[in-house]
């Protein structure tokens, strides 16, 4: 529809605005977000939801349970260099979506309270729950 904003455009604009805010030469300069933090932020649209699901996942699946281990596992799933900042938010979100779909396609899922969820999305939530 011509009079509406495409979701992807909106997310892109949102990410761009965030990038301006965190840019070193902006008036709002903040330290660059780590890859872990960016992954955790992309887990869900509401941080509280990512935390709640992440806590539930960690309670029933304690291994890997450290932030470093989960980050490493996620980077392997998403084919990311864990030492890098990774691609921009748009590309990162696409890569996460693809990994989640691949999990479902290959049965790489976990059932939590009856919900069938992908391991990738649960590990993202676990990152968020661990304080990223």
């Amino acid at each position: 529809m011509a009079d509406t904003i495409d979701r992807r455009t909106l997310i892109g604009a949102f990410a761009a605005a965030t990038a301006i805010l965190v840019a070193p030469d902006s008036g709002w300069a903040m330290p660059p977000a780590s890859l872990e933090a960016r992954l955790a932020a992309l887990a869900a649209s509401e941080p509280r939801s990512a935390h709640a699901i992440g806590r539930a996942y960690l309670a029933t699946h304690p291994t890997p349970g450290t932030l470093r281990d989960i980050h490493a596992a996620l980077c392997a799933r998403l084919r990311l260099d864990s030492a890098s900042r990774g691609p921009d938010n748009h590309a990162l979100a696409d890569r996460i979506d693809a990994a989640i779909r691949a999990d479902f396609a290959h049965g790489d899922t976990v059932t939590l309270s009856g919900w069938v969820m992908s391991k990738t999305e649960l590990q993202l939530c676990a990152l968020a729950a661990l304080g990223c």
Binding site: L42, G107, G114, C125
Partner: protein
């Protein structure tokens, strides 16, 4: 009802009267009326016997009392005993059996029909006219597009959309006047057949004994008989006709009443998409096929038959309903459905909804699962020691499911859950218990009673042959879903009607050659 002045009230016939006819059809439901109509205006004299009157009456209904001894089953009024039979409260749901349903599947014991689906197609087409279902068009994609709906974005080779057509044809109301005015068909109301009586040589049925609640008894002699009293009563009548053969008619191999099947119904899962889109409403209720047309269409989800073969499970279908699960109530693990929704979204999407005004309903799709029962000889209809007001033994129902049925359900749910996630459509929440034996706790049947006089060319494996004639007897046929050897998931009435048309063709042909 008006226009039924030629129907005969059997209660008013003199006790001991003997009626002679060419073809005696017992039962006036979808099967019996369809069969009778095929002979309308012909030289063949038809006696159509109906246990009830033109409307529901409690004392007649009680003649079909069922005692449940197996898993729970809501038997109250699951069959209706009056003219038109159970079509009087039928929902009108029609779909055809798939090719796989006719096949002998090595992982489904005792599956397979003596013929295939292609052979049945002309009869399905004719059955469409009887039920007034419109064209034989079941193409979900084109029909949904024509009606401006869209299909769930699932891989159709895994979870496909099946389309059903709906027309709640009340056979008695629709075709009663036609039967009434037909010169060769006589409909007898309040005529309960209590036994099929064999000739002294036990080669054929010579007559049926008919009793009424008024106390009179008549007999009907015919060249041929068709029993069309429903999937439960068909078996009871054969078993209870045990004067000449103690195990009942057609029961030389102890098959009558066994293999009682149902469609297993249970709502134990939901799908939560990020947004409920009304474009999918063709799944959640019947929609008019054409403006002003009484025929409805509705989509369902089914596992593709090739995947079903690959997984070696029974057939699986689920109907889709709308449910309202509270968004913010936490599940046992401490998160809520709202949290799941947020999981499927990225930053900005809620702002997107605010800007674009996308709908936000606190609902999800409920899966009203509806699966094939594996044929099981231990699942059976038999006779109680108690009797009804006419001295017939009551029916005893022992409905039993199998381990394969339960395992198939768990696998099918897994396929759907993964396809829902893979497609990006949403997330699946299942309520199936962990313990295998408890998976179907609370499951009910779809009021579809099948398999109790199953069809097979081998008399050791079937009560009737491919022409629906009882093995070993010359002139008695079974009509209705009791002849289904396996049932797939389609609701049975369309196939019942198609098989009745086929039986009519066979009987006409036989009458031509043998009189």
């Amino acid at each position: 009802m008006n226009g039924f002045d030629n129907f005969i009230d059997t209660r008013k016939i003199d006790n001991g009267t003997r009626i002679e006819t060419d073809l005696c059809i017992i039962g006036s439901g979808a099967a019996g009326i369809t069969l009778a109509r095929e002979f309308a205006g012909s030289q063949t004299r038809i006696a159509l016997l109906e246990t009830g009157g033109l409307n529901f009456e409690a004392d007649t209904q009680q003649l079909g009392t069922i005692q449940v001894v197996g898993r729970p089953y809501p038997v109250e009024q699951c069959r209706l005993r009056y003219f038109g039979g159970t079509t009087n409260h039928w929902g009108g749901h029609c779909s055809r059996l798939e090719a796989i349903d006719f096949e002998e599947r090595d992982w489904i014991p005792d599956s397979g029909w003596p013929f295939g689906r292609d052979y049945m197609m002309p009869f399905y087409e004719r059955a469409h006219h009887v039920i007034e279902l419109g064209s034989l068009d079941y193409d979900a994609a084109s029909i949904a597009a024509k009606l401006n709906y869209k299909l769930f974005p699932f891989d159709p080779l895994k979870v496909r959309t099946s389309l059903s057509r709906y027309h709640a044809q009340r056979f008695g109301i629709r075709y009663g006047a036609e039967l009434n005015s037909s010169g060769n068909i006589t409909t007898y109301l309040y005529a309960t057949v209590t036994s099929l009586d064999l000739d002294p040589g036990h080669r054929f049925v010579s007559q049926v004994t008919v009793k009424t609640l008024a106390g009179n008894t008549v007999t009907v002699a015919a060249k041929r008989f068709v029993v069309a009293t429903g999937g439960i009563e068909n078996a009871r009548l054969l078993l209870d006709s045990n004067e000449a053969q103690p195990k009942g008619i057609g029961n030389g191999h102890d098959l009558v009443g066994r293999y009682f099947m149902e469609h297993i119904a249970y709502p134990k899962s939901v799908i939560r998409p990020p947004v409920m889109d009304p474009a999918y409403d063709i799944y959640t209720g019947e929609r008019p096929y054409l403006d002003g047309d009484p025929v409805g269409v509705r989509c369902h989800l089914a596992l593709h038959q090739d995947l079903t073969r690959e997984l070696r499970i029974p057939k699986f279908r689920t109907e889709i309903g709308l449910a309202k699960v509270p968004l913010h109530a936490p599940f046992s693990a401490g998160f809520s459905m709202d949290d799941i929704t947020n999981l499927m979204e990225r930053a900005g999407s809620k702002l997107d909804r605010v800007i674009n005004g996308a709908p936000w309903h606190p609902t999800c799709y409920e899966l009203l699962n509806y699966t094939e029962q594996v044929p099981n000889p231990s699942s059976r209809i038999s006779l109680s020691t108690d009797k009804n007001a006419l001295g017939q033994h009551l029916t005893k129902m022992d409905w039993r499911l199998t381990e394969l049925g339960r395992e198939g359900i768990r696998i099918a749910h897994r396929v759907i859950a993964e396809e829902v996630g893979r497609s990006g459509f949403g997330r699946y929440l299942g309520f199936l218990p962990e313990e295998e034996e408890r998976i179907l706790d609370g499951a009910v049947g779809g009021m579809h009673h099948m398999g109790t006089t199953r069809m097979h060319d081998d008399p050791r494996r079937g009560v009737v042959d491919r022409n629906c004639k009882i093995h070993g007897l010359e002139n008695i046929y079974m009509a209705g879903s009791s002849v289904f050897p396996s049932c797939g998931w389609p609701n049975p009435t369309l196939t019942i009607t198609a098989l009745s048309l086929r039986l009519a063709d066979h009987l006409k042909s036989e009458m031509t050659f043998h009189g």
